[in-house]
């Protein structure tokens, strides 16, 4: 954000000119450094103490061989090297990608349609918005258990409806027992839980686009599709990027839904990285390797975040 000239003038016009090392330091730290650092201090302290420090310790542990209750033994990048050639790890990575991108893609479209519909001329908008938020708001543990019951082959209500009520299928589907449907089912539950976040963010973004822009485009003869591409999309560009980024990270790290529904089965078909990490940490008690699994994808994701954040900040300061 740029400094307004009035502000700059106000600050330099008043106040006597004094040179000296302290003033130089103050200038380097920025004109608002006192209030700025004060305001940002609690955040920094909390993040350093409760995120950065444990995180650094976790990084260190990933470079060790560590069993529970036993002091760590430094092994360098051994864990990471072993993982790279481990077929089970590779499969977990593939599953994680399928899970994440499958889910985020659908959530994106669903959220976008939801936002577009809610900004068109429909009534009771508040009601719809409120109700459609519900899945995001309920505890994941509860929702996952609920779906476990719903997906049950013999006693679950989904098969009951498909077979006995609507007669769409002769027999129930093994939602959590066939590898294809198991992955689809866990993705489905993740979509169910997560799409409201996309919807409401896009809704907010759409409302911020001035109506005049649409009118101008319409006057220029642009149809709805062109208007979407040239007015809507650029208008929500930043929020689109942020929401996709956050959701990708959160979906990638999602543990509870998969674990409660399938524990990673059948036969490892839905084994995603968080479940894999969990098993190594608490099933095998090999903490060093478990952390290495969890941190393996981190550099790639971090690079993406930094690049995108910079891209967006540039966009903002224009």
């Amino acid at each position: 954000m740029s400094i307004s000239t009035a502000e700059l003038g106000a600050k330099t016009a008043l106040g006597p000119k004094r040179e000296g090392p302290l003033v130089g330091l103050a200038r380097m730290l920025g004109p608002d450094h006192r209030l700025g650092y004060l305001f940002i201090l609690p955040t920094v302290v909390l993040v350093l103490a409760l995120v950065a420090y444990p995180f650094c310790y976790a990084i260190y542990l990933s470079l060790t061989r560590k069993y529970v209750g036993v002091p760590p033994v430094f092994v360098g990048f051994d864990n990471y090297v072993k993982l790279t050639f481990d077929g089970f790890f590779q499969r977990a990575v593939v599953n994680s990608f399928i899970f994440t991108f499958g889910s985020v893609a659908v959530k994106l479209v669903l959220g976008m349609v939801m936002a577009l519909v809610l900004t068109s001329g429909i009534r009771f908008r508040s009601f719809w918005t409120g109700v459609l938020l519900i899945p995001w708001v309920a505890p994941t543990v509860v929702s996952a258990l609920n779906f476990l019951w719903i997906f049950d082959y013999s006693l679950g209500v989904l098969n009951y409806m498909l077979v006995k009520v609507f007669h769409l299928l002769p027999q129930g589907v093994g939602w959590l027992s066939e590898p294809g449907t198991a992955m689809a089912s866990v993705i489905g539950v993740n979509i169910w839980r997560g799409f409201p976040f996309f919807g409401i963010s896009f809704l907010a973004g759409l409302r911020a686009i001035p109506a005049e822009m649409y009118e101008a485009a319409a006057v220029d003869g642009a149809g709805p599709l062109l208007r979407f591409r040239h007015v809507t999309l650029p208008g929500i560009r930043n929020i689109l990027i942020i929401v996709m980024l956050l959701s990708t990270i959160w979906t990638f790290n999602d543990f509870q839904i998969v674990y409660i529904l399938t524990k990673g089965g059948p036969g490892g078909a839905t084994q995603v990285l968080p479940v894999f990490t969990y098993e190594i940490a608490f099933g095998a008690q090999r903490l060093g390797e478990a952390i290495a699994v969890a941190l393996y994808m981190l550099p790639a994701l971090a690079a993406v975040i930094i690049v995108l954040a910079r891209y967006m900040r540039q966009g903002r300061s224009r």
Partner: protein
């Protein structure tokens, strides 16, 4: 002594009132006389409350949980200490152990499942003496418990009770067809299932998942043993696709066939979790299934109509015999505890035969014996179904059989290696040979990791 004073003293001891309040109220009672004050100071000199942290499993046997809590609190009152009990379900417990041990504040004493001593050995005390004392006063440990709990010749857990799986049969259906309980899987269970099921009514002959679950892992382990195979040889070396390759292949083929070929299992069985077969059986959809005694408990406790129609028998076998694993719940004392003696005292108290019997009698067969004397308790004859439970426990073998119990064996089991192997055949279309080889590589990898 004035009973009011005694009341107050008790309240002070159990921390219900603060010291100051005690002194105040007591002074009123004694009228502040010198003698009274003397007595007061004697009582107020009560020990500063030692607090013992006790971690227990919240079992589905709610009556058992209540008995456990009551007994521990009684003991605590007796010893004038406070017992702070943490209840965690089976699924949540391990995370708490790991976090607490790593943070340096494990509990003083904890109830652990069979894999506990192996996993947390580094943080546990050697309790061989207590275990030895208790065992010798009860006719010795049953062989399976001894094998399962002795690590490098020492005990890091004092065995308490055992849970195992049994084979459930719908007695009414069996008798209606004039059949007898099968004793081997192939062809026994297969034919039994075919003759008794009625798919048109949604009744299936056999319900056994090969999905990642305790049910699945237990079954796979048992079936490999039944065919003379297993993941480990008698020296504790990986044997899945090497020493016991042929046996394991046959076992794997059989297991997989029950789902894909024999048509005796309900569709969707590969998606089952541990609770699914319980529910299917109780809903009347299964003729047979393997499960822990928990299913029987659930039916009896809820007065389910099928409870009286259920027969529990020994787990069927294979060409090499009939094998079954069991779990051995035990007490562990953590090295960091400052009250090891107190903990040992609590263990002795809880394992006292009368108290244990009280616990066992409300458990509907869940609290299987680990000591020889306990097998003689008439309770086990009170329900004919209990016999199968007890027999299965007595003859059970630990993970790693025919080799010793090793961290690697524990990990291979806990990491769903066997169920994944089966799953890869049923759902991913791998050939049994390929799946076996893949699983063996995993076993090797874990074996190597654990040796260094």
């Amino acid at each position: 002594m004035d009973s009011r004073l005694k009341d107050l003293a008790e309240k002070l001891d159990t921390g219900l009132i603060a010291r100051r309040e005690f002194l105040r109220k007591a002074a009123v009672v004694t009228g502040g006389t010198a003698a009274g004050l003397q007595a007061l100071s004697k009582m107020a000199g009560a020990q500063s409350q030692t607090k013992l942290r006790v971690w227990l499993f919240k079992s589905f046997v709610t009556a058992g949980n209540d008995v456990l809590e009551k007994q521990i609190q009684n003991w605590a009152k007796d010893r004038k200490v406070t017992a702070e009990i943490d209840w965690a379900t089976f699924g949540d417990r391990e995370q708490k152990f790991v976090a607490a041990i790593e943070a340096g504040n494990p509990p003083d004493i904890a109830e652990m499942q069979i894999l506990g001593p192996m996993r947390y050995k580094a943080a546990l005390r050697d309790v061989s003496k207590v275990a030895g004392d208790i065992a010798s006063a009860r006719g010795g440990m049953l062989p399976f418990a001894d094998k399962a709990m002795k690590l490098d010749g020492k005990f890091y857990g004092v065995p308490r009770y055992s849970m195992t799986t049994v084979f459930y049969i719908r007695k009414d259906i069996m008798e209606a067809k004039g059949l007898k309980p099968p004793t081997v899987y192939d062809p026994g269970v297969v034919e039994f299932a075919r003759k008794t099921q009625d798919v048109s009514k949604g009744l299936y002959g056999f319900g056994q998942t090969l999905n990642r679950s305790d049910d699945g892992n237990g079954f796979m382990q048992n079936i490999l043993w039944n065919y003379g195979g297993g993941a480990w040889d008698k020296d504790g070396k990986p044997a899945l696709a090497t020493t016991f390759r042929d046996q394991n292949l046959k076992a794997l083929q059989f297991a997989v066939d029950t789902i894909t070929k024999q048509k005796i299992q309900p569709p969707g069985v590969m998606g089952w979790t541990d609770v699914s077969n319980n529910e299917a059986f109780m809903a009347g959809n299964l003729v047979t299934t393997n499960n822990g005694a928990s299913l029987y408990y659930a039916m009896v406790a809820k007065k389910h109509e099928l409870a009286s129609k259920t027969l529990l028998v020994l787990t069927p076998g294979g060409p090499a015999g009939s094998f079954v694993g069991s779990s051995c719940y035990n007490w562990g004392i953590f090295q960091k505890s400052k009250y090891a003696d107190l903990c040992e005292d609590m263990i002795r108290y809880m394992e006292d035969e009368e108290r244990f019997a009280e616990y066992m009698k409300v458990s509907v067969g869940q609290a299987g014996p680990v000591y020889k004397k306990r097998t003689e308790n008439p309770y086990w004859k009170s329900d004919p179904n209990f016999n199968a439970i007890m027999q299965n426990i007595i003859r059970s073998v630990p993970t790693g059989y025919p080799g010793p119990v090793t961290p690697a064996a524990v990990e291979v089991y806990a990491q769903n290696t066997l169920t994944d192997m089966a799953g890869r055949v049923v759902t991913a279309g791998l050939s049994p040979e390929a799946a076996l080889k893949e699983a063996h590589a995993r076993v090797e990898e874990i074996y190597k990791a654990r040796r260094s």
